[in-house]
Symmetry: C2
Subunit: 148 residues, 2 copies
């Protein structure tokens, strides 16, 4: 991936600028790939993330703030995101008995089934995306990412 070539600039970019742009380009690519992988399921990355969080609760219900806390990309409107998962039948929502301000959200059996299928696809996509990385390079990348 030659950054200058992709954005078709004739000038040599300063290293820092180049890094930031390079990062954005890779980020786009990753998003596209995962987006495409989830497309057949009619689910967004965010929705997938929420399903995974709910499964990770092992039956223990989660409320909205818990979900938000754990999401990779926080967003302002988890209510409507959950709404969509309910419509699809992947998730249930109840009002919390002990604190009626709160809400209890659970993944359904249908949600679990579909999530399992998506898992495979997602792991596959990861493999494809990272196919040119050795174990060592992945570790190196993680160390560098920590510096942000």
């Amino acid at each position: 991936m030659n950054v200058e070539q992709i954005i078709k600039t004739e000038r040599t970019l300063p290293l820092k600028t180049r890094t930031v742009i390079h990062f954005a380009l890779v980020s786009n690519k990753i998003n596209e790939q995962f987006g495409a992988a989830l497309k057949p399921y009619g689910i967004s990355k965010q929705q997938f993330n929420v399903l995974r969080i709910l499964r990770g609760q092992h039956g223990k219900p989660a409320n909205l703030s818990t979900i938000n806390e754990r999401m990779v990309t926080k967003m302002s409107n988890t209510t409507r995101l959950v709404d969509k998962l309910i419509t699809k039948g992947y998730v249930e929502r109840w009002i919390c008995e002990t604190n009626r301000r709160k809400v209890e959200i659970l993944i359904t059996e249908k949600g679990k089934t579909v999530l399992e299928k998506m898992d495979t696809i997602m792991l596959n996509t990861e493999d494809i995306l990272l196919k040119d990385f050795s174990e060592k390079e992945l570790e190196q990348l993680n160390i560098l990412l920590d510096k942000f």
Copy 2:
């Protein structure tokens, strides 16, 4: 930045999954910072990108497809993006005389002035974002990013 801690998961993530999530987290951080830097100017990253592309033309007008080609994040609707820049007076648009299908887009003096101010802020933001990286680490990161 401890990934597991941030997304509050108790399990140890597989290296590849961890990398992808790590990447998304950093990407969010970068977007937030640049977004915040541009906020006082009431301009989006995309709009800023277009202004920079137009300045890079050195007076030579650009048409929509040229702009699209050079944008870091391609998008489906550059027309409306340019509309917004016109409203702000940062950009002009004319119909191309030699090929009336095309359009000629130019940055205005006002656009150049405001862009110069934004440049400083953006470079500053880059510096802050990358403050913990040595020259060598930045080069290393760019090499790793190339593997995507």
